[in-house]
Every structure is written in structure tokens, then in C-alpha cells.
Symmetry: C2
Subunit: 276 residues, 2 copies
């Protein structure tokens, strides 16, 4: 059985790689231009699942996707922590000494700054996408240039590795979420994600976190986002250990709802492994 | 007495406008290309103060500046909440019907989407900077185009207002911080900003927030940022009401330090007024 899985970016993107790490050969990749298109296609049932980046271990949260989780009624059903390894890729026949131009997305270029500084007389050219730069050197048969992208792009476009692992930091992971229109509650090693806003009174956030602390429920992450139209008030995104179907967690949520103005369940899913 | 005040962007930027709202005619504006240059110039004493955006009421925090507050030893000594009003600006002699091209930064273009959709046969051209697009139409004497920028850019480049207040949301504020190399503790209407990391144990954040809640100290904002090299662990930025010199606050901080691995004081400063 195959699943249509939506992701943002060109074929060979890190999101596609994260999806493959989760679904293996059951994944039929469907590329979209924007994150919002991924959410829409999941919501409408055009695809079976979506995969979106939510956080990088060096650069922090991808806030647009936090906001889209609030906007669209989809559920988180899985998680992947993908080690981001960058490769210098070129067409077969090109050697490192031939490379006069290096193409990639500005963030990937920044993540490989140390390696790039070690090269001399090479022009650095920012592009819209890592996998897109691999696609471009392939399609235009560029023989004096190279692209920085992930291994999925190498595989998809059939490129040669000039140098592997050129990123500055080895602890560079991106956490991806798997989205579905259907609620699927994981039983193994579960974590749960919710959104809430507190009432506008002193100590409100502390009391909200207290419903978890008092039950020894371990908080994994808290993220705040602005509430549109209410400057300097915030929406909180909380990840905690456990399943929404555990008695202790559902009890905590029942108490939390009494303290909050707004509550939304995003999903109970298996904690992601580190892969790649 | 005049103060040299550093900001990022072209002359006429919203950061310059925020600085002027704070310092009035005592401000001598000094433009820099990057936020990091602003921090460096404050740290080295090249300028007296810096002004940086930290948060927008619609789009959220400017994380690069959170990270720079941790990296550089500078103090927050003031705050400005600037109403972001966008203006359609052109050279004198240009009327709305002459405008075939509109230039601005992508975020400003997005913030004026409703207005832009009301126009027909106009090309939208993204640029690197709002004030920079005003500068460009002035310098190139463009007579078939207009720029979207703030009123400070209008004034600085001597442009005509084709239309005022073209932003989608009226509750669009950006909060700016005033930076100094010297610690200056505000007495009037003070708020305090700190950074800390909790020990890696369940309930650690709850207990850290508890030192404030138990003393009825009102928390204004919490922001989390990744700790580099420790994936899925976070640094917390906290804003609370009160002065570091109040007994109740300094008592809270003393208790907080026992619960944290890392603590940094950023400043006690007067809560900013909404201006502009």
C-alpha cells in the first residue's frame, strides 16, 4: 500500500527525505510550493499525509508552521528528527578544482560557512531552494559549478558527491511533523501537542503549567506566538510526554481547560527517532 | 546634548523612527547594514545607544535579536512600541494613476496585501528594505512607480504621500529595544528582562516560573530559543513587571538562580508607550 505524502519544496528536499525516513517505500512524494499548500492538501484529502519542518536544533522554530497548525484542522500523527547533512554536489565529470560557482539556499550557505571560507576564488550564489539548486545544475548541465543540498537531492538528480558533511555543526537536526486529516492516537512512546491561551491574569501561565507539574507530566517544549489583534498577548504551544488517552493526561487537560480561554488538541504521536 | 544612535537599515527605516520617538532631537542616527553591527557598535562604544526591533504584534519575535542579546554584553535601557503605518510614496508629480510598479520589502508587501489587490495592472517588486525602496525611487527619479515605506522615509527622502495607512491590520505594532553598554536601571514603570536555562529535570520550568508567581510578579512574555549543541533543550527569555532593585524581584532572582544552570540579566527599563 502506498501513501501520497505532501511536502514543500523541490523533489529531493529535506522534507521529502524526512517523509521517506518515516514511510519508507510506501511514500509517494507530492511536491508543493508553499507550506500552506501542504496543509490545504492534507485537509482536503488530496494527499494522505503531509510532512512539515517545525524546528531546527540550531535556528529554532519555524513559526509559519506553528501558525498553520492553529489555522488548519489537521492532526500531528508522527515525528522525525532528521540530521541535516549538507553535500557539495556536481555533475559527473566535474571535480572540486573545476568549481567556480556554488549555488544553494542562503540558510544552507550559512550552515556551511566554514567550508566555504576554506575555498578560494569561488563565487557563492544564493538560490530559492537547496534541492532546487541541485536540479538547476543538473538541468543546465553546469560544469563549472556545484550545489549544496542533502543526500536525497543527490539521489533524485543523479549527482556526484564532491564533499560530504560540509555543515559547520554536527548537532544540526530538523524536527519534522507528519500531518493527517484523521486523528490517530499513538500507543508507543507517545508525546502530545496542544495549543492554549491563558486568561489575562497574573500567574495564569504558571498555573497552566502547574496542572502538568503536579502530575509529574514532563514538558518537552513551550512556544509562544502572538494573538492577532491583541498586541502583547500570546498563544502557547505545549509538547508534553504521554498520551491524551492516559488518565493522568486527560485529567490534566480537563483542569487546564478551566484555566484557559482557548484550547486545541494537535495530536498524540510517537516520539521521533533521530535519523539520517 | 546629542546621542549617536545605531540602527539597522537605510535612513528613514522604522528603527530610526522608533529611535526618534525615544530620543527626539537628541538622536544622531547612525545606519548599519546588520543587527549584529548595531550590537557591536554599542558594545565597542562607537555609538551611545542602539535601537533594535524585538517583536511584531502580528508576526512574532525577531529571533536573531534574541540570540544577539545573549551573545553580546549590552543592556536594555528602554522600549518603544511603534505603530507600523505603511504609506504609498512617490516623487512629486506622480499620481496614483501613473503608478505601474510598486517596490517594497516582502514583509511590507504582505502587510499591505489587501490594498495591493485593489489595484489593477500594477507590478509588485520585492526589494531588500522598505526605506531602501523609497531611497531608490527618489535617486533614480522613477516617475511610473511608488514605494511602500514608513513616514520617516517620506520625510527623509522628501516624497509625496499617494495613500496613507495602507496596512491590512491596524493593530500592527513593532516593539523596539534601546541598547546601551552601560547598565541604567529605570525607576518609573519598570519591567525587567532576563535569560535563563533550567536544569534538565521534569517540572524545572514550572518551578522557575513559580518563584515569580509566588511573589505576585506579573510575567509579560516568555520566549524559548534552542541551546546550540544541545538539541531539544532551550534557553528561556523572560520579561516581568518590576525592577531588579525591588526587594521582591531581587529575592525572586536569588531563588531562580538556585534552579537554573545559566542566568543573565538584560535590563530594567521603563515600559514603552505605544507611539506613531
Amino acid at each position: 500500500m502506498k501513501f501520497k505524502v505532501a511536502f514543500q519544496g523541490e523533489r529531493g528536499a529535506f522534507s521529502e527525505q524526512a517523509g521517506l525516513a518515516f514511510f519508507d517505500e510506501r511514500m509517494e512524494p507530492v511536491a508543493f510550493n508553499t507550506f500552506e499548500d501542504v496543509f490545504k492538501s492534507v485537509k482536503k484529502g488530496v494527499v494522505d499525509f503531509g510532512v512539515i519542518p517545525i524546528e531546527n536544533s540550531l535556528y529554532g522554530s519555524i513559526h509559519q508552521n506553528y501558525d498553520l497548525l492553529q489555522k488548519y484542522n489537521v492532526f500531528i500523527v508522527g515525528e522525525v528528527k532528521l540530521r541535516i547533512r549538507h553535500y557539495l554536489l556536481a555533475n559527473y565529470g566535474v571535480n572540486l578544482k573545476d568549481v567556480k560557482k556554488i549555488y544553494s539556499h542562503p540558510q544552507a550557505l550559512a550552515q556551511c560557512e566554514k567550508f566555504l571560507k576554506s575555498l578560494s576564488e569561488v563565487e557563492i550564489i544564493p538560490t530559492y531552494d537547496t534541492a532546487g539548486s541541485a536540479k538547476m545544475i543538473k538541468e543546465k548541465k553546469i560544469m563549472d559549478g556545484a550545489a549544496i543540498a542533502g543526500k536525497q537531492a543527490r539521489k533524485f538528480y543523479g549527482l556526484k558527491i564532491l564533499k560530504a558533511g560540509i555543515e559547520n555543526h554536527e548537532k544540526n537536526f530538523t524536527r519534522f511533523l507528519i500531518l493527517s486529516r484523521k486523528k490517530i492516537i499513538a500507543r508507543e512512546n507517545p508525546k502530545t501537542s496542544i495549543i492554549f491561551t491563558t486568561k489575562n491574569i497574573p500567574g495564569a501561565l504558571y498555573r497552566a503549567l502547574g496542572v502538568f507539574a503536579q502530575r509529574d507530566i514532563n514538558l518537552l517544549k513551550i512556544e509562544s506566538r502572538p494573538i492577532i489583534g491583541q498586541p502583547w498577548r500570546y498563544m502557547f504551544y505545549l509538547d508534553f510526554e504521554g498520551s491524551i488517552e492516559d488518565e493522568v493526561c486527560s485529567d490534566a487537560i480537563r483542569e487546564l481547560k478551566r484555566l484557559t480561554d482557548y484550547y486545541k488538541f494537535l495530536g498524540t504521536y510517537e516520539k521521533g527517532r533521530e535519523v539520517g
